[in-house]
């Protein structure tokens, strides 16, 4: 009964989403307050119903209810509890339901916290959110129903894709989806502004926290996915320019541009049209990402053509929402009034430059990702656009952006003084150059570009610190006063500083991969291989059983300067119900670097094929991403970002004062 109740809740949610789109929009058109007030009610009910539906599916997974097709295909009664819960979103249908759940959650949160917004904008935004929900619920019910039943029910399921049976991948999709779907709020705000014809600095302030939340989760989701690929796929890399990765990188780049352009809009009331366009593009790229990953177009363009139902459905959603919103943009955007003007050398100018670089980088990734697909669809030729293309296009855009970043951060609004800023940043710049020189001297004969990357990373970190110091000191005050002031700085300033430092930290991590060491060897038990400063000794190999898999593993001892510092046990696992073996890399963290081992097959002579890596400072890559996200969360918590929720609470007093 629970399963059927969940199924019905989803069907009912479709009806509610439909009503929640049409009636509030009618209210917006006729300025009818009663109809507009239906929008938040509909959004809250929608969230309740989708949540009920999701809980019902999760319960079917927990109970191993094999009368549900989705549970048969993706679960197994021997699965540990954690993977039964994550099993829900490890497959197409369940993950689309999670997608809708998060969308409904954002609508619900918006309905709850956005009540201080202008009523017409509020109703229009929620109606747009409902329309997105309606489209995706329809997609679920028509082409990817997770509640399809089977009778008679088999006694056992087919098990979860072993690659996905991993804590990293258990939490990666929810993080990423919160990021993807969070972008829908900015989209709905943009459409709402175009419909109501009203957009101003207050709009930017309302949309900013939502964009920031989406951006933070997207950052964490991408970092998590990258770390998962790093230790689970066993290739030792951390970013492969794979279309699936690019699909998440593109919305991230545009969202990054968006959170910067909303700052300009909030402070200076300019860049309105551009910000609206970015809002539309961010969510459009999220949809494109969903399409790429979910339609099967990536496995092969032909696979898509063979079973086109799902792909065509998502493509239809894509065309309606992206095409519709861009048409609306072309029609209504000229009506938006432009705001404040600024000199080229100013904070605004720097942020425009930032936006241009990020937009160009997005275009590069977009072309690199979609061109091979288009080519394959048109001519059947399969080409692969890999790291060389992105190294040649993406990096030349990112490096200058990183270089000008501290200058932009330190420039004043409206009209900046580049010379003054340069003077104030001289120490940070000087230190960074010295660090670069030292690294060059210490690693003479090594990689050429990597020390430059490290210098750039330090420049970002030191430049951010210099900026905070400058703000705290003002025009020269005592040290204790400066500390007090620094503590009192708005959280959004700390947030942006932290996020920029995070970029620097990641950059150092990436640069340091140039000094990584890779050994691909065949070893016999007892043999030792030198990997960097470590001696890695193969102790032996064995067989062991997990809860639902069998594993061939090898045991390595890692010796650092004659002292055993740890053991590595990489293996190959074969899961019950699946025949495909998966490799399980083993990591030993020393400082911020990692010794990485993965094993291949055992050959008839008893030798084990192994890949051994020493990756110095590699953890910086992900630590930097976490710092970036942390910076974003700091900004969200800024009291100014909370204003949207606070308005209503403070309204009576304001009214009384007038």
């Amino acid at each position: 009964m629970i399963v059927e109740l969940g199924h019905y809740a989803l069907v009912l949610a479709l009806a509610i989403a439909f009503i929640g789109t049409v009636l509030p929009l009618w209210g917006v058109k006729t300025h009818d307050a009663a109809l507009m007030r239906m929008a938040p009610s509909a959004s809250l009910v929608l969230f309740g119903l989708v949540a009920l539906s999701y809980v019902a599916l999760t319960k079917a997974y927990l109970d191993s209810d094999f009368s549900v097709l989705n549970v048969i295909e993706n679960s197994h009664s021997a699965k540990p509890l954690m993977y039964r819960i994550s099993g829900v979103w490890s497959n197409h249908e369940g993950s689309m339901l999670l997608w809708v759940l998060i969308l409904a959650l954002f609508s619900g949160l918006l309905a709850w916290f956005g009540r201080g917004m202008p009523q017409r904008l509020f109703a229009a935004v929620l109606a747009v959110q409902s329309s997105i929900a309606a489209a995706f619920i329809l997609f679920l019910l028509a082409a990817s129903n997770p509640f399809t039943r089977v009778t008679p029910a088999p006694m056992e399921g087919r098990g979860l894709n072993p690659l996905l049976q991993d804590p990293g991948l258990a939490i990666h999709p929810p993080l990423l989806y919160v990021g993807y779907v969070g972008c829908s709020v900015a989209f709905s705000f943009a459409i709402g502004a175009l419909i109501t014809g009203r957009i101003d600095a207050a709009w930017a302030r309302f949309v900013r926290p939502w964009t920031l939340i989406a951006w933070c989760f997207l950052t964490l989701g991408i970092a998590m996915g990258s770390y998962w690929a790093y230790y689970e796929l066993g290739w030792g890399g951390w970013w492969f320019w794979d279309p699936v990765e690019n699909a998440s990188l593109m919305p991230w780049l545009v969202a990054t541009a968006l959170i910067h352009s909303t700052v300009v809009m909030e402070k200076r009331d300019s860049l309105k049209v551009w910000t609206v366009l970015l809002s539309i593009l961010t969510f459009s790229l999220s949809l494109v990402g969903t399409f790429l990953v979910r339609s099967g177009v990536l496995t092969s363009v032909h696979a898509f053509a063979v079973d086109p139902e799902r792909g065509l459905f998502i493509l239809g959603i894509l065309i309606v929402f992206i095409g519709g919103s861009l048409t609306l943009f072309a029609w209504r955007a000229p009506l938006l009034k432009q705001g404040g003007i600024f000199a080229p050398v100013s904070r605004e100018g720097a942020l425009v430059l930032n936006n241009l670089f990020l937009a160009a980088a997005t275009a590069a990734v977009f072309i690199g990702t979609l061109y091979p697909l288009a080519l394959e669809a048109l001519t059947g030729a399969k080409i692969s656009v890999g790291a060389p293309f992105f190294d040649a296009t993406f990096l030349p855009l990112m490096l200058p952006l990183a270089f000008i970043l501290p200058f932009g951060q330190a420039l004043a609004w409206k009209r900046g003084d580049l010379l003054g800023v340069a003077q104030r940043l001289a120490t940070a710049l000087g230190l960074s150059v010295v660090i670069t020189m030292i690294v060059y001297a210490a690693t003479w004969g090594g990689p050429v570009l990597a020390p430059l990357g490290i210098g750039l990373g330090f420049w970002l970190i030191l430049g951010s610190i210099a900026d905070i110091m400058m703000r705290a000191k003002g025009n020269g005050v005592a040290f204790t006063v400066a500390i007090k002031r620094a503590v009192g700085l708005p959280l959004s300033i700390w947030g942006s500083t932290l996020a920029h430092m995070g970029v620097g930290v990641s950059m150092i991590g990436v640069a340091c991969t140039a000094w990584g060491i890779e050994k691909i060897v065949e070893m016999k038990p007892g043999e030792t291989v030198q990997v960097g400063r470590f001696d890695v000794k193969l102790e032996g190999a064995g067989l062991r059983n997990g809860p639902d898999y069998r594993e061939n593993f090898a045991r390595f001892i890692v010796i650092d300067g004659g002292r055993v510092v740890g053991a590595l046990e990489p293996g190959k696992r074969v899961f019950t119900g699946r025949t495909m073996p998966t490799s399980e890399a083993a990591l030993l963290t020393r400082g911020l670097g990692q010794v990485y081992a993965s094993v291949g097959d055992v050959n008839p002579q008893g030798q084990i094929a192994a890949r051994l890596y020493w990756k110095p400072w590699v953890l910086f890559i992900w630590i930097g991403a976490v710092i970036m996200a942390l910076g974003g969360f700091f900004s969200v918590l800024d009291r100014r970002a909370r204003i949207a929720a606070a308005v209503r609470a403070r309204l009576p007093r304001v009214v009384a004062a007038e």
Binding site: M1, V3, E4, L5, H7, Y8, A9, V11, L12, L14, A15, I16, I19, V22, W26, T30, H31, D32, A33, A34, L35, R37, M38, P40, S41, L44, V45, L49, D63, S64, D65, S67, S77, A78, R115, G116, M117, P118, Q119, L141, R149, A153, P154, E156, R198, D200, A201, A202, G340, A412, K414, G474, P490, N545, P547, R550, R640, V647, L651, V654
Partner: protein, 360 residues
């Protein structure tokens, strides 16, 4: 019943929640943007006090914020004529009341299975079991105790029964690995492989049988399949010999006894004559064959109604190079079946194939 009741309640609650805002016609106080701009003015003030912006810049910023505040107020007033029309509210209520059940119910009935109860595994495991369920339970047990060789051995024959040969092979290999190989286990594994390959004794299967025989020379199943392997290799003599030795040791009424007997009956005519002859030296072979042919000819003289016998005789003469004898036999055969058109045609066809009777 409980389900329908729950669905009705769910629908009712959703409809009520949507109708609720329509019932409140009184206008609530609406927020405007003034708080936002007041906040901005306060920020400018603080930045100015801290010395982050000069007095002149602060003044300009204040003026800009104030201008925007005034613009925002003006716009709000322009929009302020907020209308609540009871008529529209009635239409909207009607739409909600009709559209929601009208969308949800037919769609649900079309795609769902409302009569199918939940079937959590825990409640099914205590229910009476069929073979499927028993197998599933053993599989689950084995997933948790993958070193239990006995479990594999128990489940393997069931797999064979069910035609799940791949699973049977896996289970039997596990049993042999975990419990140690014996003749019985290895020959069972070999049999599973034969079943999987559709009755062909593959090299892999044969290796299993050979290992089984190495461990237990008397393993009947292994011996039977080794004989079958020889037969499939085309080595009928060896196969027949092996089957015969096997038949001597087993109860002819048992299934394997019957299978062996059937094999022997099938192979005997293909091999008997040839095998004896092949064992003799060349000269003796010819002598022996001639003797056999003479015997056949004699038999046909006394009992001519044997078309196959005649054709074998004619072929034998051709093989021996005695074409005159062959022609003579052909005439005799034709004479014997002069009244039987069918047999006559077969004989003539055979003769044409051997290039005989062309003279006529």
């Amino acid at each position: 019943m409980v389900l329908w009741f729950s669905l009705a309640i769910l629908t009712g609650l959703a409809v009520l929640a949507l109708l609720w805002p329509l019932t409140r016609t009184r206008e609530a106080a609406e927020a405007d943007d003034s708080v936002f701009y007041q906040q901005e003015l306060a920020d400018i003030q603080r930045d100015a006090e801290r010395g982050l912006i000069g007095p002149a810049e602060a003044e300009a910023a204040r003026a800009e914020a104030a201008r925007r505040l005034i613009a925002s107020r003006r716009r709000d007033q322009g929009e302020a004529e907020k209308r609540v029309s009871p008529q529209r509210a009635r239409w909207a209520s009607l739409a909600v009341l009709i559209a929601i059940p009208a969308i949800a119910l037919p769609l649900y009935l079309r795609i769902a299975s409302p009569n199918l109860p939940d079937q959590p595994l825990a409640s099914r495991e205590t229910a009476p079991q069929g073979v499927q369920e028993a197998v599933a339970q053993i599989e689950k047990h084995l997933a948790q105790n993958p070193t239990d060789g006995r479990g594999y051995e128990v489940v393997a024959p069931v797999y064979m029964e069910m035609g799940r040969f791949d699973d049977a092979i896996r289970a039997l290999s596990e049993a042999a690995r975990l419990l140690g190989p014996t003749g019985t286990r290895l020959s069972a594994l070999g049999q599973a492989r034969v079943a999987q390959s559709g009755g062909v004794v593959t090299a892999e299967a044969r290796a299993d049988f050979e290992r089984a025989l190495a461990l237990d020379a008397n393993d009947l199943r292994a011996r039977y399949f080794i004989a079958m392997a020889a037969e499939q290799d085309g080595n009928n003599n060896k196969a027949l010999e092996a089957y015969r030795r096997l038949a001597a040791q087993i109860d002819p009424a048992s299934p394997i006894g019957q299978a062996v007997a059937a094999k022997i009956a099938e192979l005997q005519p293909k091999t008997e004559a040839g095998s004896v002859v092949a064992a003799l030296p060349k000269d003796d072979q010819t002598k022996m064959i001639r003797a056999m042919v003479a015997g056949l000819a004699q038999r046909l003289e006394t009992n001519p109604v044997d078309p196959d016998g005649w054709m074998r005789l004619i072929r034998s003469y051709v093989v021996l190079g005695e074409s005159a004898e062959a022609e003579a036999a052909l005439s005799k055969a034709r004479a014997a079946f002069a009244n039987n058109a069918d047999v006559l045609r077969r004989i003539n066809d055979e003769a044409r194939g051997l290039r005989l009777g062309i003279a006529q």
